[in-house]
Amino acid sequence: MTETKWLVDESVIRDFSATNNEPEWLLNTRLDAFNKAEELPLPKPDKTKIDKWNFTQFGIHNVNSTPYASIADLPEKAKVVVGEDNTVQNVYVQRNGVPSILNISAELKEAGVIFTDFETAVKEHSDLVQKYFMTQVVKADEHKLTALHAALVNGGVFLYVPKNVEIKEPVQAVFIQDDKNAAIFNHVIVVAEANSSVTYVENYISTVETEAGVANIVTEVIAGDNARVSYGAVDTLAENVTVYVNRRGVTAPHAHIEWSLGSMNDGDTVSENVTNLIGDGSYADTKMVVVGSGKQSMNFTTKVVHFGKHTEGYILKHGVMKDEAKAIFNGIGKIEHGASKSNAEQESRILMLSEKARGDANPILLIDEDDVTAGHAASVGRVDPLQLYYLMSRGITKREAERLVIHGFLAPVVNKLPIENVKKQLKGIIEGKVRQ
């Protein structure tokens, strides 16, 4: 067990909770989690040692940023994803931990949709948040990082879609880190009640380099009977921010959860994406693209657990590693006893661009039921010099040839992303990261 030097103590949590007028249940949850955090072990992502990673040394838990006054004041990187239009609807922008902009359409309000920052949600919708916050999808006492998260949560959003409400346009959250001292402990809850549907897209953007930053992000998606949730995320946090990101969902019967994830962080990242298919006939689909560069080390565990009968789970992950970047792709399809007629499919591929880049893809199928189907494909390899030769023999420069091969490698995932906006954004961001 490594020694953990705490930068915060109980008084920081009590002060933060009091300043925000949080309900008592949340303060108690925080304190309980904080007390457990010290004892609990770190998670053990397969094949990556994270016990020396910095999950606790950050600048300031509660940075006092001035909210952005309007869309026009946003940094360029954020404008790229939000647009320039001040009247853009159904957008939330957070500056470090501070809620800045929240535009929600009258139509959604009338339909009873709740879309608000975490701080407001716990005050105005305390019972609802209490019902879902780390109670059934992710638990605070799973390990040190979930406990720290529960203790220190300082931002995020709450999105609640009542039954039978179908939201056509994506709902968007943009989390901007523009203070090098800011620690990110964002919590996102998406509740889609029966027969509802929603597309939610979030962006993590760093506009500053930090010396030592921490992002500890937890998402909980609860999809009710026959609900449809499409969840997109594009993460572009800075080089020295150590990222723990856990995005998890549960499904009621016939519910669908689709994940479109782009991990473009520049720092060490441990990512966990799990869908628990509880209800019969429910469905999960994870599509993920990753670009690694510099010396970053990353571990991505994507898991679909089938509990219900006739459930379907699909995982498709492609990653490109440049420079000395390292990535582990763990794909887990688990079919529990009784989940008959279920199907678990996964494909993981990593392309390494340099001699020093490393990749490992581990497809795992754990099946406790006879009457099921399952399949996996995995590959890890370097750029084929004959492909580059072929492209260059048409006059294309080596750099451009590599760019084409990289885009081509990621395209089968990018082109299938169900959220148009995420697809468009990712193309640009991949371009930028590849050219770094």
Binding site: D384, P385, L386, Q387, Y389, Y390, L391, M392, S393, R394, G395, I396, T397, K398, E400, A401, L404, V405, H407, G408, F409, L410, A411, P412, N415
Partner: protein, 258 residues
């Protein structure tokens, strides 16, 4: 348009330390069509790969120049932009890159930044070339060579040739795997390139392609060298009599590279 000259002098090439070409001499000028013929294993494909700069082939002796410029000093992409083209026997497949995207990159690689070809103009050109080659329009949006049949790959090589319009093209066994109809279509595309500013080196071991594309010069390779050169009548004699008479004439027992 100016006439280019590709000159190959005393070319020796090795692969994995084994010498395959043992002193090849050739000169191809704009306006000329040359055919290099010969049985399998005599070094024909090695010649084409060495000219283009395939990473596995090592030139150990001799020179290759294009209009006096030292080709061997150039990277593969520089050779292409200088005016060389190789229609490959086994083109690579590249997932996720559409044929159209690839072709446009190739065209733009020859243009200055800011002077890229307009999308409309590019599509018009590509459509018209695809018509000549009787290619399905959906081939433009398919991933480069992925899942293409042998014939589709060859047509696609000629589509690139017609789009890029090089000064000197080498076509390596462009006829292999083609049925007679496809052979006619591919030949039509190649013949359409005939021009004072375009020279072509056609590598084949069948005479049948030369029924549709008439070469000005014919060369026969054996044992890693050009052992005989002549006019179109040489190809016809090879078609009628095979290669044995050349072997006898030159006292060659085994024509392959030893």
């Amino acid at each position: 348009m100016s006439q280019s000259t590709l000159t190959v002098k005393d070319l020796h090439v090795s692969i994995d330390g084994k010498e395959i070409l043992k002193g090849v001499n050739l000169e191809i000028k704009g306006g000329e069509f040359h055919a290099v013929m010969g049985p399998n294993g005599t070094g024909k494909s090695t010649l084409s790969s060495a000219i283009m700069g395939h990473p596995k082939y090592e030139v150990t002796q001799g020179t290759i120049t294009l209009d006096g410029e030292d080709v061997l000093e150039m990277e593969v992409d520089e050779r292409a932009r200088a005016g060389l083209f190789l229609g490959m026997q086994y083109p690579s497949e590249i997932t996720g890159v559409t044929n159209a995207e690839f072709l446009r990159s190739a065209v733009n690689a020859r243009r200055e930044e800011g002077d890229e070809i307009s999308l409309m103009k590019f599509i018009r050109q590509m459509d018209s070339n695809m018509d000549v080659l009787e290619m399905d329009q959906d081939m433009a949006q398919r991933y480069l060579n992925e899942g293409f049949s042998g014939g589709e790959k060859k047509r696609n090589e000629i589509l690139q040739l017609m789009t890029i319009k090089p000064k000197i093209a080498i076509l390596d066994e462009i006829d292999s795997g083609l049925d007679i109809d496809a052979l006619k279509v591919v030949s039509k595309g190649i013949n359409q390139m005939r021009d004072e500013s375009f020279g072509c080196l056609i590598i084949t071991h069948y005479q049948r392609l030369l029924d549709y594309i008439t070469p000005d010069h014919v060369h026969v390779m054996m044992q890693g060298r050009v052992v005989k050169s002549g006019g179109p009548e040489l190809a016809q004699r090879l078609e009628a009599e095979g290669y044995d008479w050349i072997k006898q004439e030159l006292g060659i027992e085994d024509e392959t590279v030893q």
